[in-house]
Assembly symmetry: C2
Homo-oligomer: 279 residues x 2
């Protein structure tokens, strides 16, 4: 199979590994996309397991790469980290003036409603196209896990729960746990999936998917108790009430922390060690 | 003494400590300034030693705060970190269209030449005004060290070497070690200090100050071998040739690393542990 072209934008030595950034043309999204990839020392770890990191509203792949400090522990444990962008991009791609819809707010689903359905196919892009692309260009162990922050925590839970034999563990920081119940999720789902079609919302809602699992993938969640979005937008209470008592879920509500990358950075090591246990 | 007003801009829980950002009106610089401050857990460390961090060309206090990942080790060791901005700021402050002169490029000296001398008094601002201000508002142990990156590495060495009884250790990442010998430094010193007054340049050049020390403050330097500025702008060879063989200098030229914050993040823990040994 001929390798699709990948344009390298950045290449930095980091903790003995390499922090990379690329651009490629996405057929699924019909636009150019960037992604970042951390590789641990390829001599020590020629076939690393792969952690997917999904970012939050208004982020690109740069926020996690610059601010989470994940490279240190990933280099130590020999974990590769793939960080995609959060939506299709470009002047020809539908958008909205608010930060919580359109570009930067793809919600990791496949939109069915115009004008969004033309480009907003993030689920298929991630699980098929980008997944195939990086496996053509880099070598991994075959083990995968998935994590994310806020909207990306929603994405990690949804993608992980929909693919329980693919991802050996799931984790999230301040995830939107019950999107069908909260303003961010209702606005996104109404636009991307349609108001009259609320049955389809259940396919993209972790609080619904967790009730229908056939295989229990271990989950780790950290929430900051001082997160200003906790009650209104993240709604952990609803998700927790829908999760079976015997589900292997570790849920930490940590005092003092907010919604920022200072919170993510403080606990990213714990998440990487959690995933390493399950690879 | 009445406390000067400080406006808090940010307050984030981070690794059990607090990442703060403030704005205040500087009398020395005659403009409003921001600075960031990391405090470890004040219950565990009510009187922490203070590390000054000076940033590089075009940076503000945010670059280090967001990207270096220093909070983790500082929280563990109980070290406070003060991160000032890199120059005076504002529409009424002299500037230059290039990144290496004017706003974002104060070079941590006291300018003597018009139009720069009106506001560009970063040495006096840091060592007197900002130093007094933070000690009015926060409690420290009295022990201080100083570090920085690129132009800020120059600043750390110059300020540390000029105040050898104040700072117990000095460190730097990719510092401009011989500013009088390289394009960045020659342009800055010509503008700020004057071309006809090159004798004054020696007061702001680590390669000169290291030859006149009366007390040998320990120094740790990391340089990336793949730093594109290494030979032309940083000139470690000249500095090393001027440093006494018995000087307590640890100089690491590390393979693979460049000039970025990925390099700083990879070795910031080693620098914090170095300073902790000397407090």
């Amino acid at each position: 199979m001929p390798k699709k072209p990948l344009e390298q934008l950045e290449n930095h030595h980091s903790f003995g590994g390499t922090q990379l950034k690329y651009r490629h043309d996405s057929a699924v999204l019909d636009c150019p996309m960037t992604f970042s990839l951390f590789l641990p020392d390829t001599h020590k770890f020629p076939h690393p397991p792969l952690l997917w990191w999904l970012s939050g509203l208004s982020s690109t792949d740069d926020n996690f790469t610059h601010k989470a400090g994940a490279q240190r522990t990933a280099a130590e444990l020999g974990i590769a980290i793939l960080i995609p962008d959060t939506s299709p991009r470009g002047e020809h791609v539908a958008d909205d003036p608010e930060y919580d819809l359109g570009q930067g707010a793809g919600f990791y689903l496949d939109a069915t409603e115009a004008p969004w359905s033309e480009h907003y196919q993030m689920y298929r892009y991630l699980t098929e196209e980008l997944s195939d692309l990086i496996k053509q260009h880099f070598t991994f162990s075959g083990k995968e896990a998935i994590s994310g922050h806020s909207m990306g925590g929603h994405g990690a839970l949804v993608i992980g729960l929909k693919n329980p034999t693919r991802f050996s563990s799931i984790s999230a920081f301040a995830p939107i746990l019950s999107p069908s119940q909260v303003p961010w999720g209702i606005r996104a789902f109404t636009n991307y999936l349609g108001k009259v079609n609320q049955i389809s919302w259940k396919n993209w809602d972790a609080s619904e998917l967790i009730q229908a699992v056939t295989y229990q993938v271990p989950i780790l969640i950290h929430q900051g108790r001082q997160d200003p979005f906790l009650a209104e937008q993240l709604d952990p209470a609803y998700f927790l009430s829908k999760t079976a008592p015997d589900y292997p879920l570790t849920y930490h509500l940590v005092d003092g922390y907010d919604h920022s990358y200072y919170f993510v950075a403080s606990f990213i090591e714990a998440h990487l060690r959690f995933h390493a246990q399950h690879f």
